[in-house]
């Protein structure tokens, strides 16, 4: 494997030395471009109390292209599909090399706090959300309890 670019080393170091509250990202031993990520659901959202597991991968041309991120924990969210794929502009067309792992994970955390059913990835969830937001939020809460409870993972 080619040597790890300095930028990735720097980012990794900073994630450890100056962690973001509610977010952890640790590179895997066998592949330092592959991160194990945990994001806590924002307190004011239906995902509050949830401890979500994700995986993140930095492709060869990172930072010229976005990191690849997906949820491993099942989540009921209009912008996250059944396979954990995330619909977020900064992960696609709006990626900028000035963004970092840290900022991307913050954006994902922000997305949990502000679901956007008008730009859906998971169509069925988005429809439910638009039809009956209250019920959708309840479902999101119960999924969080069922799949993303911190206790469950320990």
């Amino acid at each position: 494997m080619a040597a790890l670019p300095k930028r990735i080393i720097k980012e990794t170091e900073r994630l450890v030395s100056d962690p973001v509250p509610g977010i952890t990202a640790i590179p895997k031993e066998d592949n330092l471009r592959h991160f194990e990520v945990f994001i806590d659901g924002p307190s004011s959202s239906p995902y509050a109390g949830g401890h979500f597991s994700l995986e993140l991968f930095l492709p060869d041309d990172y930072p010229m292209c976005a990191p690849k991120v997906r949820f491993l924990t099942k989540i009921y969210h209009p912008n996250i599909d059944k396979l954990g794929r995330i619909c977020l502009d900064v992960l696609k067309d709006n990626w900028s090399p000035a963004l970092q792992i840290r900022t991307i994970l913050l954006s994902i955390q922000a997305l949990l706090g502000a679901p956007n059913p008008d730009d859906p990835l998971a169509n069925d969830v988005a429809e439910d959300w638009k039809k009956d937001e209250k019920k959708a939020i309840e479902t999101a809460q119960s999924w969080t309890k069922q799949y993303a409870s911190a206790k469950l993972q320990e």
Binding site: M1, R33, F57, D60, K74
Partner: protein
């Protein structure tokens, strides 16, 4: 080149399959859309022309376990087929099929399906008598 992890490689393959960006003569997708582990896949091969497979559609299952793509996937025909590399139960025999035997990490499910189709069209195999269309293992 850095090693792309299994899940992200499978997501790439899935996207290619979903968008129909690959070859037209084959197709593949997740058996179950909820399968967050992305282990079980369905594939189809359109029988190559000028062979006994012409106009037939063959269904297969592909299993990409945790060792994928370091190790080849397990490939099995659902539709009955008479091919040297396929055993009596429909399994594609690794030692008989070069793509699986000499597996490389950058191979994909698409590679496997296209190579199987090529094998079906090879001079040695294209005239082989085939079981009735629509029968399954």
């Amino acid at each position: 080149m850095s090693k792309i992890p299994r899940n992200f490689k499978l997501l790439e393959e899935l996207e290619k399959g979903e968008k129909g960006l690959g070859a037209e003569s084959i197709s593949y997708g997740l058996t179950n859309q909820d399968d967050i582990t992305m282990t079980y896949w369905n594939g189809t091969i359109l029988g190559p022309p000028h062979s006994t497979h012409e106009n037939r559609i063959y269904s297969l299952t592909i299993i990409c376990d945790e060792s994928y793509p370091d190790k080849p996937p397990k490939v099995k025909f659902i539709s009955k087929i008479n091919l040297p590399c396929v055993d009596n139960a429909g399994n594609v025999v690794v030692s008989e099929f070069d793509t699986l035997k000499n597996w490389k990490r950058n191979y994909t499910m698409e590679t496997v399906l296209l190579e199987l189709r090529k094998s079906m069209a090879s001079p040695a195999n294209k005239k082989l008598a085939q079981p009735a269309e629509g029968s399954t293992f």
